[in-house]
């Protein structure tokens, strides 16, 4: 199997899976779910077998079509995209196991539509991860928005549809209104859209225009949820929890920050940006989002909304780390994508597990729940510790690198932001852990529940384990992202 074929396969496989799921779905739910798992597993196999080649320094690429002269649909695998694809495909397996438990446990409707669109969304994620130029990335970025819209609107009642409208409205408006003009502007001045190590804009653009173009990108890539374009993410929480877990903690939001990293590193170029003072605002905007979102998270009483605001803060962590523009912090940004993915998916799994077993959604209802659901709350604790950045969890590693990068450049804004936000993270996560383990239930719940269904427990245990494992064995990830031609020139 050639690597070109593998790249195409990683995009086509989920689509083929979607067709299969649609055909089998109506009459054979067991077959449908088996097919989902099979597709996820084979996708992971295809993606992960690209890894050795990449570690050997290869950059396989494949050109599909030429839309307009000079504008191609092209894929190229580089370390950052590889990491993202590997992450998303692996977590899709875990998430599918979880979905089976969750969707059946809650008797959700339209389950076939759910699995079909999930597969389409994953195909779009692979397209984003392996995109060889901005145009290709943009195409799949929009496919991801459109395919996740029905997942957000899944319940179909009027409140959900309004939230889904916010979701689609913000993501489409920013991408068509800001992102697309930014791409066309880039093409006009640079004559190419290929992701090139060192960037393509150096020498083609200077002065305030750089800051403006960067602003078009950062706010146009609404999926990164830099304030004030973050409102879609809390709105998306009306979706079933597996959607929030894989898409709105991993795939969609990470597609956003991934795109920002790609733009900063391969379109602008880190060295070019660090010489342009008009681009300095990015760090401050990201720092502001980190602090503001954490403060808003403090005030949330609904568990999923709290997690959503925490996600907004953590995404801007990545953006801020990129904006420090130092090699160490770029590595930190990349690892944080993985670390946050494992931690946050665990937290969402736990929230969904609590909902499935007890129908509880509010934080104050969680007193004493640790005794009834020890596995769930243990996983939740690990996820929360990773968010705060306590060893031995993955969050510690990424925070270490980001801090190291900020000290390298004496960037006090970043250092203060990291310290303050760590404190804020502790302030909103630790009380939940404390209530769950050390308080007694005030009133016994009406349904005397225990743990959630087995599929759910397996899934959240797996992701919690990954959170710890990434702390212990982070060397392979470091090797991947610190390759020459990867993050640094």
């Amino acid at each position: 199997m050639t690597s070109e074929f593998q790249i195409l396969l990683s995009i086509l496989l989920p689509l083929a899976g979607a067709v299969g799921i649609a055909i089998t779905g109506r009459h054979y739910p067991n077959l449908r779910e088996a097919l989902t798992l099979f597709t996820a597993a084979s996708l992971t196999a295809v993606v992960w077998t690209l890894l050795p080649e990449l570690l050997a320094g290869e950059r396989p690429s494949v050109r599909v079509a030429e839309m307009l002269p000079g504008l191609t649909i092209e894929f190229q695998v580089e370390p950052l995209g590889m990491l993202f694809a590997a992450l998303a495909s692996l977590l899709w397996i875990v998430n599918s196991i979880y979905s089976i438990g969750y969707m059946r446990g809650n008797n959700e409707r339209h389950q076939t539509r759910f699995y079909v669109l999930f597969a389409v969304a994953l195909s779009a994620v692979m397209g984003i991860a392996f995109a060889g130029n901005l145009l290709t990335l943009f195409i799949f970025y929009e496919v991801l928005t459109l395919s996740t819209y029905p997942l957000v609107a899944h319940k179909g009642d009027s409140k959900t549809v309004v939230s889904a409208r916010t979701y689609l409205g913000i993501l489409l408006a920013t991408s068509i209104g800001l992102f697309l003009p930014a791409i066309i502007w880039t093409y006009q001045v640079a004559g190419t859209l290929d992701f090139t190590p060192g960037g393509i804009l150096d020498g083609n653009l200077a002065g305030p225009a750089v800051g403006l173009l960067l602003a078009l990108y950062v706010f146009g890539i609404g999926k990164a949820a830099v304030m004030p374009v973050h409102r879609w993410l809390p709105a998306a929480m009306v979706a079933p929890t597996p959607v929030s877990a894989l898409l709105h903690a991993v795939a969609v939001v990470k597609a956003g920050v991934f795109t920002i990293i790609k733009v900063v590193v391969f379109i602008f170029g880190v060295e070019f940006l660090s010489t342009e003072s008009s681009a300095d605002w990015l760090l401050i905007a990201a720092a502001f989002t980190v602090i503001a979102a954490s403060i808003v998270a403090l005030r949330q009483s609904n568990l999923k909304r709290l997690l959503a605001y925490s996600t907004i803060a953590q995404l801007s962590y990545v953006v801020m780390a990129v904006a420090i523009l130092k090699p160490l912090s770029e590595i930190g940004a990349t690892i944080h994508i993985a670390a946050h993915a494992f931690g946050k998916i665990t937290l969402f799994f736990a929230a969904g597990s609590i909902y499935t077993a007890s129908k509880k959604t509010e934080i104050h209802q969680l007193r004493g729940i640790g005794r009834r659901m020890p596995w769930t709350m243990a996983a939740f604790t690990i996820g929360a510790l990773s968010m705060i950045g306590v060893p031995p969890t993955a969050g510690f590693v990424s925070k270490w690198y980001i801090l190291a990068g900020s000290f390298q450049s004496d960037n006090y804004i970043a250092i203060v932001t990291i310290i303050v936000s760590t404190a804020l993270n502790a302030m909103y996560f630790l009380p939940i852990i404390f209530y769950a383990w050390f308080c007694r239930e005030e009133v016994a719940p009406t349904n005397d529940h225990g743990e959630a269904p087995l599929a759910i427990v397996i899934a959240l245990t797996a992701t919690a384990a990954l959170t710890v494992l990434l702390f212990l064995f982070n060397q392979p990830v470091l090797d991947l992202v610190s390759q020459p031609g990867g993050m640094s020139k």
Binding site: M67, L68, R165, L172
Partner: protein, 496 residues
């Protein structure tokens, strides 16, 4: 001479000669079959001409071997080929797919007349496109328009009668204006052949009758093309016409008028009238901008599905004009590409509407609540075509929007403002398309128990062919692109 040399003439003559024969066919289903086959032949001829044009720049044909400028000359360029493909393609696809829809809307006794009128409209449109003679254009324009009035009014909905009457009056005014303009030019130059006119008008370019003629011709054609604010005839005619007729006309009728307008503006007037650029910058461009913004805005609040799409068509005419009014190679190419891509998107959308029309007598948006559950294939095609209309990447609409924005960005500060307008109207398109999608997918069906079936298979197949063409030409746009850029180059050949 072998048969292929006569293709330009056959393009017009075949449907025109078969039309009267169709009137005589009283066997049920036969008129449809003959009309479809004729339209298919016209499409094949168009493809043949396109091939020739792609090889060797253009084809000229002298009617009855009379030399131009004395005889009538047919002139097929890449621009004509682009339009021929749109017109004959739209006619063929809608006829092949639309039999059942036409059967439900038009009684069998009137069908021979209907199909005859359809073929006359087709022959009129193709005639306008291939001819190189200004008066001939007028004749074919009348044929096409009169036949269009007939097929629009053929439905059973009585609300179409006032609408078509309005169209008749406005269309006649437009054609008369055009005729007055041609008359004035003939008076001054003594020629009706466009190529000849191009050369001779230079000598008298500064005289007042020529300026007046330019005004009459522009205005008359703008009326026919439904350029804002001369669009009043269009929304109701499209809304109440039989669905298949709307699909056919929406894909091509305004574009044919625009084709004539652009040919006059760029080839005849541009290099001969000293301040002609002003017409683009202060006249057509503002109108295009108003059309884009106002029509999109109206579409957002429109309650009838076909009315909504009709207003969207007005906005798209604005896009085409906007591209042309930049008077640059990229701008004009973008405008011409949008002619093709908009025909694809609107054709598919109105075919999907025809599918809905098989099951719903009224197409107010409220009637369509929850329809996606009952007609999933129809609505999926609608979504695809709608995405193309919005300009989502991967669809044909994206290509022209990309080209239009790139072209605008080369115009400096004005360009940035134009980009803002294009972006805003794209967002308005998101809003009005999504109103339909949200209602169809997440609305509650009006009455439980009243179940509706999916549309007939043939109609669905046709709709899906049109929808998938939006994807195909969104990824591999080389055919329309080469035609459009060649046409733009030939239209701009006289400019510095």
């Amino acid at each position: 001479m072998i048969l292929t040399d006569h293709l330009p003439a056959l393009q017009v003559v075949v449907p025109m000669l078969i039309a009267p024969l169709v009137v005589l066919m009283r066997v049920r289903g036969l008129p449809w079959a003959v009309a479809t086959v004729t339209s298919l032949m016209a499409f094949a001829i168009a493809v043949g001409l396109t091939n020739t044009v792609l090889d060797s720049y253009s084809v000229t044909y002298e009617m009855g071997s009379w030399r131009a400028p004395y005889g009538i000359e047919l002139h097929v360029t890449s621009f004509s080929a682009l339009l021929l493909l749109i017109v004959t393609g739209a006619s063929t696809l809608t006829l092949v797919a639309g039999k059942q829809s036409i059967d439900t809307e038009i009684g069998h006794d009137r069908q021979p007349l209907f199909y005859a009128a359809w073929l006359l409209a087709l022959s009129g449109f193709t005639g306008i496109i291939v001819t190189g003679d200004a008066f001939n254009i007028f004749v074919f324009m009348e044929i096409a328009s009169l036949a269009s009035y007939v097929i629009i009014a053929a439905g059973s909905d009585r609300r179409v009668l006032p609408a078509v009457f309005k169209y008749l009056i406005m269309g006649t005014i437009g054609a008369t204006f055009y005729l007055i303009g041609i008359g004035l030019i003939y008076m001054m130059t003594g020629t009706l052949n466009l190529a000849d006119m191009e050369a001779r008008i230079h000598e008298v370019g500064e005289l007042r009758p020529i300026l007046v003629a330019a005004g009459f011709i522009t205005l008359g054609l703008a009326l026919k093309a439904a350029v804002f604010p001369l669009h009043a005839w269009l929304p109701h005619s499209y809304t109440y016409a039989p669905h298949i007729v709307t699909a056919f006309l929406a894909a091509c009728s305004t574009k044919v008028a625009l084709y004539v307008l652009l040919r006059f503006d760029f080839l005849v007037f541009q290099q001969n009238l000293s301040t002609h650029e002003v017409q683009f910058t202060v006249f057509l461009m503002p109108l295009a901008v108003f059309a884009i913004l106002i029509a999109s805005g109206v579409a957002v609040f429109e309650r009838n599905l076909k009315g909504l799409l009709a207003y969207s068509s007005l906005a798209q005419v604005g896009y085409i004009l906007l591209g042309a009014s930049l008077v640059s190679m990229p701008g004009l190419t973008a405008g011409l590409m949008h002619m093709f891509n908009h025909a694809l998107a609107k054709g598919a959308l109105f075919l999907a509407v025809a599918c809905l029309g098989m099951r719903f007598t009224r197409l107010e948006l409220v009637n369509l609540s929850g329809v996606a559950r009952q007609m999933p294939w129809t609505m999926a095609a609608f979504v695809l075509a709608g995405l193309s209309l919005i300009g989502v990447p991967g669809t044909a609409g994206f290509i022209s929007k990309w080209m239009l924005i790139s072209a605008a960005l080369q115009e400096g500060a004005l360009g940035v403002a134009l980009v803002a307008i294009i972006v805003v109207s794209s967002l308005l398109a998101v809003v009005y398309i999504w109103r339909v999608i949200e209602l169809a997918y997440f609305g509650d069906p009006p009455e439980a128990g009243q179940s509706v079936n999916e549309a007939p298979v043939w109609l669905l197949v046709g709709t899906w062919v049109a929808a998938l063409m939006n994807i195909y030409f969104g990824i591999i746009p080389s055919l329309p692109l080469s035609l459009a850029s060649e046409s733009a180059a030939s239209l701009l050949q006289h400019l510095p």
